[in-house]
Amino acid sequence: MYGLQLVAASRRRLKRGTIYVTLGRMEEKGFITSRLEAAPAEAGGLPRRLYEPTALGRRVLAWAAAAQHFSPRFAQ
């Protein structure tokens, strides 16, 4: 997904100004990868970066979801 799509999917709980800082850190930790996707010919503009979770990232997400289920405090 693109960063803006993630912002929209989070119903604005993620902010445009900080999403890329967060995504950058997640990529450094190996939870996600990204690749550049060229803009469509009719649109032009800078290529956009597409993010997707790694296997490690999916496992961490599953663990976090399970921990949230068991500990309401963790959910905060």
Partner: protein
């Protein structure tokens, strides 16, 4: 016609590291261009303007939060880091010294004048601090800049960072002069008198000074002098940068910067006198020292040879 965000990206590329550009700045600009382009192709004019506005705000947040600081700082050269640290230390030292020199003598005289009650000198100094900062911050920035980079290698990134600090200084100066100084001056007077006191001219906020019922030539001078002082951090830093990059010894550079400060302050004091006697209109008298400083900066940069200390290119 350039795409929206192209100039912003070019500006950010001068200051930010390549990694910051790739991971933070380019995605924000790409989003801005994609959203704006989509709205324009759909014929939605207001939607495209909204996309621009939101995109610019997001760029500003990313640039300030992450584009300028930690990631870029790691990629600064040792010379740049040392230059900025030197400038910061000298600025703080000179600011504190000038604040004490300007404020302390007056405060120490108060117990001799006010003999009918006990005076808290520390509290008085604290109340006087905002008004001393109006002049001590530009002084600190000018001499700090001169001492910090005179005779040392400097890069475009360092110069831009120093100018951004000066801009921030001007913004902080505006808040100080517009609201904080009038309020603290009033507290100072009430502490001295030991009771509530009616506000004098120096205790009026900028809005109060501007209101037409109070407007007179001396008050218009006061209003414009305060505005001119908010611009002083930026003009003093540019002056300091020009002086530091001339073929002068460090001592000569510091003396020149200090002379500029003394002339500016004398100009303001003289301007108040000329306004009171009707020789000059208030706004002109208030802005004349600022214009003279800008003119001097231009003349020095044109007619005094620059030194041969290399300007290093910002690493990619």
């Amino acid at each position: 016609m350039t795409r929206p965000g192209t100039r912003l990206r070019a500006f950010a590329a001068r200051v930010c590291s390549a990694a910051t550009m790739e991971r933070l700045i380019d995605p924000v600009i790409a989003d801005l261009q994609a959203e704006h382009g989509e709205a324009v192709r759909a014929g939605r004019v207001w939607r495209s303007r909204w996309a621009l506005m939101v995109g610019y705000v997001a760029f500003a947040k990313v640039f300030v939060l992450a584009g300028l600081f930690a990631p870029a700082w790691r990629n600064w050269t040792p010379d740049d880091r040392q230059g900025l640290k030197r400038m910061a230390w000298y600025t703080v030292a000179v600011t504190i010294s000038v604040s004490v020199l300007v404020g302390l003598p007056g405060v120490l005289r108060v117990p001799d004048i006010v003999t009918f009650r006990e005076i808290n000198i520390g509290l008085l100094m604290l109340y006087l601090l905002p008004s001393t900062l109006a002049l001590s911050v530009p002084a600190g920035l000018a001499i700090g800049t001169t001492l910090g980079i005179s005779g040392h290698p400097r890069s475009r990134r360092l110069v831009i960072a120093i100018l951004l600090i000066a801009l921030a200084g001007s913004a902080a100066s505006f808040a100080n002069i517009a609201w904080l100084t009038p309020a603290s001056n009033q507290l100072f007077r009430e502490e001295v008198m030991g009771r509530p006191v009616e506000k004098g001219e120096n205790e009026l906020t900028l809005t109060e000074l501007r209101s037409w019922e109070l407007f007179s030539n001396p008050r218009s001078f006061l209003f414009h002098a305060r505005l001119a002082l908010t611009a002083a951090p930026l003009t003093f830093v540019v002056f300091g940068l020009v002086i530091a990059t001339r073929r002068l010894t460090r001592t000569a550079a510091v003396i020149s910067a200090s002379a500029g400060l003394v002339c500016y302050t004398s100009g303001l004091i003289s301007g108040a006198m000329f306004t009171a006697t009707g020789v000059l209109p208030g706004p002109l008298a208030a802005w004349l020292p600022q214009l003279a400083l800008i003119g001097t900066t231009i003349l020095v940069s044109v007619f005094v040879s620059s030194n041969r200390v290399p300007i290093t290119r910002t690493p990619a």
